[in-house]
């Protein structure tokens, strides 16, 4: 596949390296001459100096035959414009933008960027996983509908302890998929499954309902 990367910072550099090793054709667009040189020295001629938001540079880079276009600079507005120019002027089928301000995720989607990677959210999620007392852990976010898989620990003293699944008022778009209990095999809960303290629940939910689900299962 032909992949164009805008921004030769550390994200652009390691992404380029990884994609090259997978055998893809990769081109990096970077404004800074010193950064371009580093690519030249270490990875060969994979970097063109220029502004990845400029149509003339993108034309030169052969953007119209690119399969994927990835904007990785640390300025959200630059990533937005680069992806929009690639999409609307060069009809690139898949555009991916790095986002630093998590609030921009929704805006970018609305403005026709195909995929967004929120760096700040990723870091937060990984740190959450490392804090054992955190009641809700994000395991996976899927697709456009903002569906996510989360793990929730039922704490001692939570109002959910001793209740059956049907007694809980779960958000409509949330499903409890699995109950993991110490020393037992994980099982799919039924309406009559009674929750116990220290149960770990794997649930399917959405970004909007996550908070309501967390409250229902861990509230006291």
């Amino acid at each position: 596949m032909y992949i164009i990367i805008v921004g030769g910072g550390s994200v652009g550099y390691y992404l380029c390296k990884a994609l090259l090793s997978e055998g893809h054709e990769v081109l990096v667009l970077e404004k800074n001459a010193a950064k371009c040189e580093r690519f030249e020295d270490e990875l060969g001629s994979v970097c063109v100096r220029g502004d990845g938001c400029e149509a003339a540079i993108l034309a030169e880079a052969g953007t119209s035959r690119a399969d994927i276009f990835i904007a990785t600079t640390d300025e959200d507005e630059d990533n937005l414009v680069a992806c929009q120019v690639a999409k609307h002027k060069f009809s690139v089928p898949r555009t991916i933008a790095r986002i630093n301000n998590p609030k921009n995720e929704k805006i970018f989607k609305k403005l026709s960027v195909d995929c967004t990677i929120s760096v700040t959210n990723l870091i937060l999620e990984h740190i959450e996983e490392e804090i054992p007392t955190h009641p809700l852990i994000h395991l996976l976010t899927m697709g456009e509908e903002r569906t996510e898989i989360v793990e929730i620990r039922i704490r001692e003293g939570s109002t959910a302890v001793g209740k059956s699944v049907k007694e809980l008022s779960l958000p409509l778009d949330s499903i409890l998929a699995l109950v993991i209990r110490n020393g037992e095999k994980p099982r799919v809960p039924t309406a009559n499954t009674i929750l116990e303290a220290d149960d770990r629940i794997i649930a399917l939910t959405t970004t909007d309902s996550e908070e309501a689900l967390r409250k229902e299962l861990t509230g006291s």
Partner: protein
């Protein structure tokens, strides 16, 4: 008319004071409070420190009640992003955007943004003046 102007440079400040003098309700946004020195003393509108590409800041500036939004910061991409937020997220009926790069202006004009390239406008003006003699 209720107008939000993003960017209080020479153009933004002058536009703000012209509209203010005609009795319009003006809010000027800039990331640097020092820029507001350009607003003349009789300016009766609101000056707000904040980034116009941030939804929350726009809400604070009263974008939900605004009739028009003008993006005139130094950065083409910032202007483009803020103008699109005003247009597509908040549904502002009149959105104007400065884009220095003529090629980029053409792309966004095609996407429905009312964009002005001072580069093109000024070059044409100069050409007209030169050839008129």
């Amino acid at each position: 008319m209720n107008v939000i102007i993003m960017g209080c440079g020479r153009v933004g400040a002058q536009l703000a004071s012209l509209l203010d003098a005609e009795g319009h309700k003006i809010t000027v946004l800039d990331v640097d409070a020092y820029s507001f020195r350009r607003l003349p003393p009789p300016f009766g509108g609101t000056a707000l420190v904040g980034d116009g590409t941030d939804e929350e800041v726009l809400k604070k500036a009263g974008i939900e009640e605004a009739d028009a939004f003008v993006a005139v910061t130094q950065g083409d991409n910032r202007n483009v992003m803020a103008a699109q937020i005003a247009m597509h997220i908040f549904g502002i009926p009149k959105v104007l955007c400065r884009i220095y790069d003529p090629l980029r202006r053409d792309i966004y004009e095609a996407l429905g943004l009312e964009a002005i390239s001072p580069t093109t406008v000024f070059a044409q003006l100069l050409k007209g003046k030169l050839l008129a003699t």
